[in-house]
């Protein structure tokens, strides 16, 4: 590829800043992205980070082994809080997994070209988050070794699962989502894998990238097929963005526990999921962009747009909180009313107010431009949102269960060390996968970003 002169900006163009900054050309872009992967010497920082995260992953699997050997009593779950941290963590991770597909599928369909710089990153995050999410419901059942009974398969017992149960819908929703997200991610990555294959200098790399590049040559026909498939998958994935968290919310909404049994849950959960997903993307992207020298590709404009989305979803979530209270009051249902009063003033009030502070109050800082442009302030707010969204799931799951209909059964839930360490361990798994991704796969969708590079013809005119 030839060097393309940098376009000069007209005043009208500068109203909307370009999607790629700096002196990037098609080849320099390839160089920028691929050099991260092709670096002969793995940076020491990566090793340190990987050592920590893989140790945590090891701890997670060790604890899972302990859990399976001993029983789920190692968690703090009790009667009436039969679902504790594992379910909270599950919903938390599934929520985080939302940003990826939203960015890649919905924004793709809406032709939001700014997505190209961050979609690979966000999709990878989705896959890893869903991986973490998938672990928890599987191990949270009492008899893990029989968890396959959730699948509808012909068997000697002549038993189908119970199709009326939202948990079963959940199995389908999450597994479909994970499959489609993975395919979508992989499909978009094929041209980039081929680039890496072509640039590979060692046999191992040639073979590995070659294997996954599926013989990509970059012919027009292949591009045609790929883009068609990509579009179709995007169309398929779009309803999933809405459905997966809708169905996760059904786990709660379909039951009749006060505080769970409410029709607002599907939109509220989806908004919350997008909210937490974007917050996690920001949390990860800002340091990554800094460390891997991707500032030209992931520009302040990208970050600004994501902050705006976070702000918008924060307001939606805040509105949902308010609506829940209104509904509880308006229903005249004593149990429902108490569930919400108890959230605010009961023994878990600390969790509720942490949630409100982190999810509704702190994101309002994004109204100030400084918070949307200064990367570290931005990350600070995003981390608060991550914390707040974990607490939202905690508040919904635990406070509602801890005090339901009969006061004689009320109890207070206390997590155990195993609860905490498993949650920490799930972060270890997430970051382990992420570090491997950063080291071995193209973090930015090169082929797609190239399509939004300012075109040479513009500059010539």
């Amino acid at each position: 590829m030839s060097v393309v002169p940098i376009p000069t900006r007209t005043p009208s163009e500068s109203l909307r800043p370009p999607l790629v900054d700096g002196e990037q050309t098609l080849s320099s872009l390839t160089e920028t992205v691929c050099s991260i992967v092709e670096r002969p010497q793995t940076p020491r920082a990566w090793y340190i980070a990987f050592a920590i995260s893989s140790s945590l992953t090891l701890m997670l699997f060790g604890l899972i082994g302990y859990l399976i050997a001993t029983g789920i009593g190692v968690w703090g779950n009790n009667s009436p809080v039969f679902w504790g941290w594992p379910i909270v963590n599950f919903v938390f991770w599934v929520g985080i997994g939302h940003a990826g597909t939203l960015i890649s599928a919905i924004l793709f369909l809406f032709r939001q070209q700014w997505r190209t710089s961050i979609n690979r990153f966000a999709e990878a995050m989705t896959i890893f988050a869903v991986t973490c999410a998938g672990i928890f419901p599987a191990i949270h059942v009492g008899r893990v070794w029989l968890v396959y009974w959730l699948a509808p398969y012909p068997n000697q017992m002549a038993m189908w699962p119970n199709f009326r149960s939202p948990l079963l819908w959940d199995v389908f929703a999450v597994s479909t989502y994970a499959t489609v997200s993975l395919l979508f991610w992989y499909l978009g990555m094929i041209p980039d894998l081929a680039t890496l294959r072509d640039r590979a200098t060692s046999r191992v790399r040639q073979f590995a990238y070659g294997l996954f590049a599926l013989g990509w040559t970059g012919s027009a026909r292949q591009w045609h097929v790929l883009e068609k498939a990509y579009l179709l998958l995007a169309a398929l994935a779009t309803p999933l963005v809405l459905s997966v968290h809708t169905i996760v919310s059904f786990d709660f909404a379909v039951s009749h526990v006060p505080g769970w049994h409410t029709t607002i849950f599907p939109p509220y959960f989806v908004a919350g999921a997008v909210f937490s997903g974007f917050a996690m993307v920001v949390t990860l992207l800002v340091p990554a962009r800094h460390l891997f020298g991707l500032k030209d590709l992931i520009t302040p404009r990208h970050l600004d747009v994501m902050c705006r989305i976070i702000l918008a979803t924060s307001c939606m979530v805040g509105y949902a909180y308010a609506t829940e209270f209104f509904t509880a009051w308006y229903s005249g249902n004593r149990f429902e009313q108490f569930a919400f009063l108890n959230r605010m003033q009961g023994p878990y009030a600390w969790a509720y107010w942490t949630m409100v502070t982190c999810n509704v109050l702190i994101p309002q800082l994004y109204w100030f431009e400084r918070f949307r442009t200064s990367p570290w302030l931005m990350v600070g707010v995003a981390i608060c949102v991550n914390i707040g969204m974990w607490f939202e799931r905690f508040v919904i799951t635990v406070t509602s269960l801890s005090r339901d209909f009969l006061p004689s059964s009320w109890d207070y839930f206390r997590p155990t060390a195993v609860d905490v360490l498993m949650f920490v361990g799930s972060f270890g798994l997430f970051f382990t996968l992420f570090l491997l991704f950063c080291r071995f796969l193209p973090m930015v969708a090169m082929a797609e970003v190239k399509s939004v590079l300012p075109s040479p013809s513009v500059s010539e005119s």
């Binding site: 009436p80 039969f82 008899r143 038993m159 149960s165 948990l167 039951s255 006061p407």
Partner: protein, 1028 residues
């Protein structure tokens, strides 16, 4: 409702949260997992004993072990493998017999029921009866004769002891038994008494004594005072319209409680057509009766003497006003309008206005219903209070009507506390050569000042026959294992005198002998031959001692379980005229503001004899809902005055004696009164209740260290100081401090969950319990063939005694989880008793509500299970399929009643350990033992339904109403639970459920529960009701 008081009360508890003592507790009292266990019995040994019949017994966990199976060459008579047999038998608690019906599977007793024909209970039981089966299979029970000499212990054989005994007793006999002392625990056994008398005859200088830690001796001395002879009062609740209990708990802690409850409950049914009784309770600590009372006056136990005097003077005034009554009074006494003035002060000065109003209303009721009223004093009250009560009952014409008297069979014996005092003194003086203790555990439970442990060492030879190698055994030269009542022959008399035989239901599992066998061996010098379980001694008594009665035939008595018509004869007595002078000598001190402490037997482990029974340790105390602990009960006000908080460990002291106990603030406790329960703090009980030598911490604290001979029941003038330490209680309700929001919500909800009304309200609006919810079905419910099972629970009758909870645990193989798990809120009881306090927190009303699976027709649990492990049966049961359950726990989340229990761990794992394997024999082979990761809950005793349906099907006949009884229903002494086919017109349950006061709890959720509650009806005195 005075919400303010309540609010403050609980707010002070709020600081309970986050206590650091929690960690410490984690390492305590996880009984069954404790690995340092004393030797139990191996399965192999047991098989040797039981022979091949056991191999058919469905013993769990034997799948991989090579075992010899052998069919019966000759099948024993009446034995079909797998078909249970029921035997009538009896056992004793605290010297009072209870008639039982024990179910045996293939020679293995598994379940205790009350004998439905027995006049004391008519099938009702209490927790101790129900839990007896677990004691039988307790691997901690002693299995060896131990000799201790020169500080060393040797495991011996019975033959070693027999050789020693024949030598030793021959020598004693030559000396006329001088230096021989024999201490028994209370027993009603006629054979035991006969053999004891024989021993006394053989050894004229021997001294036979009796001791019980919790003694009813004051009742005896009260009668002695009033009537000049030792008599036992019997109360007839079938005739009592007004009952006043002065520190008495006739429905809870009384030898005839099951009888009282049955009759009391029959008159708490507004639909029965008979009268509706009214109960007043004056007491320091909430008792089972107090919780059911229509009016309750919490007051110090030490003030009850004064209340009785006031009551007496007021009654006398009333009767004096009523000329008709003068003739009824004893001429020696009626001189006494002055009696009122014998009070040190006027009633107004003695009692607070509210208290006086209470007493006046009570007097009014007692007098109005005279001849049908009943006043009684509890065992803690001194003899003079009992004497006064007897006299009042006589004045009121209740004597011979609602209360009658029978002679005590052992009238001549020394009182328990005199006996232990005397014995220790003799021991200390070195007058005791040989001390035989048949049962009992005086080293643990004797009052601290007699220092029985030290004194015991002075005896040259001490022999202790005991089920466990307990605190006393450890200090004796010989420990002998005591057989369980289900292992040997014996006989008992229940409180009213009915004679019962105890028959062996299984050969002694652990080589034990009975007290009767031992006494007989001492008398004759011939130890029992192998296989001789003492039948002939019982038969000798049966034919020689018992009065001739028409039905007296051994076989009939053995079959029926009791000898009909053998109850004690009532005696006609009148209060002696010398009583007044005795009473005059007793000073009536006005009430003091000082603190008192009251000792009472634990409602879970009694005086400690049931300590090692895990079912009972984990049984939530009826009022505090406390498990695995005792506590110093304090009223909210007193706690506030002394700046003590719930869970603070305090030191309670008096006169050099002291005890450190954690404080439990219990609404309803009298001001300035501390309640302490006996039976805890065992240091050599076993793996469950604690064994210091094996590094198993004691459960609870031993309050005997504060008890003195003088103040064996209560003591005024104790001090209380905080130690600064904290303690975490494992309760099954209010697991954590309740905050203001929660408390307000509870008080708002309780009225809807537990619906209550008064007799008058019920007469006016019989359907007051209906809160106007209309059930709408979206689709037509399919019509089902066959029976539709349902249950009704009459809250008017339920006293919250817990018998049903233990019955359910025994019937359904429900695991015990230990204190640590209860602290985490993971107790497994399928049936629980919800207890709520309403009203003023110092004088609350208590409501009890048994809650088990309601078998909803629209069961919310069924819909959400992803693997269809909980489904509905055609006969309306909400079935739980353990095999299919993968443990998502979604069903439990969606259950509005929270009756589902989850196996967070393999809770039965400890029971399958080799050293605990004896416990497996307590399992009901009809019920699956659940593994970990599985949900479980009440099944309406589906195994009983199916068993009986099969029998009916075989006979090609429909099921009869009442044929199927659930375990809880069967055990209930109050008959509060009805079960049966709702479709069968005229069935008892259908009748109950169609009563206007029947309601479904949370029926507004439209889950259509199959269990319905009958609203509780109270019968308050209109005068008192108006003033409060």
């Amino acid at each position: 409702m005075s919400r303010d008081t309540g609010t403050t009360y609980w707010r002070s508890l709020n600081e309970l949260q986050g206590t650091p003592q929690f960690e410490e507790m984690l390492h305590r009292e996880f009984p069954e997992a404790a690995s340092e266990l004393p030797d139990g019995i191996s399965r192999r040994r047991w098989l040797q004993l039981m022979g091949a019949s056991l191999a058919l017994g469905g013993v769990g966990g034997c799948r991989w072990e090579a075992e010899q199976f052998a069919p019966f060459a000759v099948r024993p008579t009446n034995r079909t493998p797998g078909i249970p047999q029921r035997f009538a038998t009896s056992h004793e608690v605290g010297g009072s017999g209870r008639g039982l019906l024990v179910t045996c599977y293939d020679g293995r007793p598994t379940k205790v029921e009350g004998n439905p024909d027995h006049p004391l209970s008519e099938g009702g039981t209490d927790v101790f009866d129900q839990a007896a089966i677990l004691n039988l299979y307790d691997p901690d029970r002693s299995d060896a004769v131990i000799e201790q000499s020169a500080g060393q212990r040797f495991t011996r054989d019975w033959s070693d002891f027999d050789r020693f005994a024949s030598r030793h007793f021959a020598a004693l006999k030559r000396g006329n038994g001088k230096g021989l002392f024999l201490l028994s625990e209370a027993t009603s056994s006629p054979t035991y008494q006969r053999l004891l008398e024989e021993l006394q005859k053989n050894h004229p200088e021997a001294v036979c004594l009796e001791y019980e830690s919790f003694s009813r001796d004051h009742e005896r001395s009260g009668a002695q005072l009033a009537f000049g002879r030792v008599l036992r009062p019997h109360y007839d609740f079938d005739r009592a319209r007004v009952v006043a209990c002065l520190d008495a708990d006739p429905l809870g802690m009384h030898p005839a409680a099951t009888r009282h409850v049955r009759d009391w409950a029959a008159h708490r049914d507004p639909d029965s057509g008979s009268f509706f009784n009214r109960v007043y309770s004056v007491e320091s600590e909430l008792s089972v009766t107090g919780a059911q009372a229509d009016h309750r006056l919490p007051i110090q136990s030490s003030s009850i003497r004064l209340v009785t005097a006031v009551l007496e003077s007021l009654i006398l005034q009333r009767l004096g006003d009523s000329p008709r009554e003068t003739s009824r009074r004893d001429p020696g006494d009626n001189s006494d309008p002055r009696l009122a003035s014998r009070l040190p002060l006027s009633p107004e000065e003695i009692l607070a206005p509210g208290q006086l109003r209470f007493v006046e209303a009570l007097v009014n009721d007692l007098v109005e219903t005279r001849g049908g009223s009943l006043l009684m004093a509890g065992p803690t009250q001194p003899a003079d209070v009992h004497a006064r009560v007897h006299r009042i009952n006589e004045w009121l014409g209740n004597s011979g009507a609602t209360v009658r008297y029978t002679a005590e069979p052992d009238a001549g014996r020394l009182s328990h506390r005199a006996a232990i005092d005397f014995l220790s003194a003799e021991l200390r003086e070195g007058n005791v050569d040989t001390l035989i203790m048949l049962g009992g555990n005086p080293v643990y439970d004797a009052p601290v000042e007699v220092q029985f442990g030290d004194a015991l060492q002075k005896a040259k030879t001490s022999i202790h026959l005991s089920a466990y190698r307990d605190e006393t055994s450890e200090l004796c030269t010989w420990h002998l294992p005591l057989a369980h009542a289900f292992e040997v022959w014996g006989d008992t008399r229940s409180n009213e005198g009915t004679y019962s035989i105890s028959q062996p239901l299984i050969e002694p599992l652990l080589t034990g002998r009975s007290g009767i066998q031992l006494l007989a061996a001492f008398n004759t010098g011939n130890p029992p031959a192998s296989g001789d379980l003492g039948k002939r001694f019982i038969q000798e008594t049966f034919y020689s001692v018992l009065p001739e009665s028409p039905g007296r035939a051994w076989d009939t008595t053995l079959h029926d379980g009791f000898l009909a018509g053998s109850a004690f004869e009532s005696v006609n007595v009148t209060v002696s005229s010398s009583l007044q002078s005795t009473l005059d000598a007793i000073s009536l001190t006005p009430p003091q503001r000082s603190l008192e402490v009251v000792f009472s037997p634990s409602r879970s482990v009694y005086d400690g004899r049931f300590s090692n029974n895990a079912w009972l340790q984990e049984l939530p105390e009826p009022l505090s809902k406390l498990t695995w602990d005792n506590a110093a009960l304090l009223s909210p006000t007193t706690a506030r005055e002394h700046d003590i908080e719930h869970g603070d460990v305090v030191r309670i002291g008096s006169d050099g004696r002291s005890v450190e106990a954690p404080v439990y603030i219990l609404p309803g406790q009298a001001e300035n009164s501390i309640g302490l329960q006996l039976g805890y703090g065992r240091t050599a009980a076993g793996t469950v209740a604690g064994h210091v030598a094996h590094n198993i911490d004691p459960v609870g604290v031993n309050v005997s260290t504060l008890r003195s001979i003088e103040h064996i029941h209560f003591e005024n003038g104790v001090t209380i100081t905080s130690t600064g330490r904290r303690h975490e209680f494992a309760t099954t309700q209010e697991h954590f401090a309740i905050d203001r929001v929660g408390l307000e919500e509870i008080s708002g909800r309780v009225g809807d969950l537990v619906r209550e009304g008064t007799v008058d309200e019920y007469a006016e609006h019989p359907d007051f319990a209906h809160h106007g919810h209309e059930e709408i079905a979206l689709w037509e419910q399919p019509e089902q063939d066959g029976p539709q099972w349902g249950m009704s629970i009459d809250l008017s009758k339920c006293i919250g005694c817990n018998a049903c909870v233990v019955a359910c645990q025994s019937e359904n193989n429900i695991p015990v989880v230990g204190k640590e798990q209860v602290l985490k809120g993971r107790e497994m009881h399928w049936l629980r008793l919800d207890r709520y306090f309403t009203g003023d927190m110092d004088e609350p009303e208590v409501v009890q509500q048994p809650v088990a699976c309601q078998h909803c027709e629209n069961a919310p649990c069924e819909q959400v299970c992803p693997v269809a492990a909980t489904v509905h049966s055609d006969d309306g049961l909400n079935d739980m399929v353990y095999n299919r359950c993968i443990g998502t726990r979604y069903c439990a989340n969606n259950c509005p009643y929270k009756v589902r229990r989850f196996n967070f761990f393999d809770y039965q794992l400890p029971v399958v350990q080799p050293e605990q394997s004896l416990k497996q024999l307590a399992f009901n082979p009809e019920v699956t033992v659940r593994s970990r990761g599985v949900m479980e809950k009440c099944t309406y005793c589906v195994q009983r339904i199916r068993n009986i349906s099969i029998l009916a099907d075989n006979d090609r006949r429909p099921l009869e109403d009442g044929e199927v009884q659930t375990a809880c229903q069967q055990s209930c002494p109050a008959q509060a639970i009805t079960f049966g086919d709702l479709k069968l017109s005229g069935s008892e349950v259908a009748t109950e459920q169609s009563k206007p006061r029947a309601y479904g709890m949370l029926d507004e959720l439209n889950v259509k529960p199959r269990t319905k509650y009958l609203a509780r009806i109270r019968n308050p005195n209109p005068v008192l009701k108006a003033t409060t």
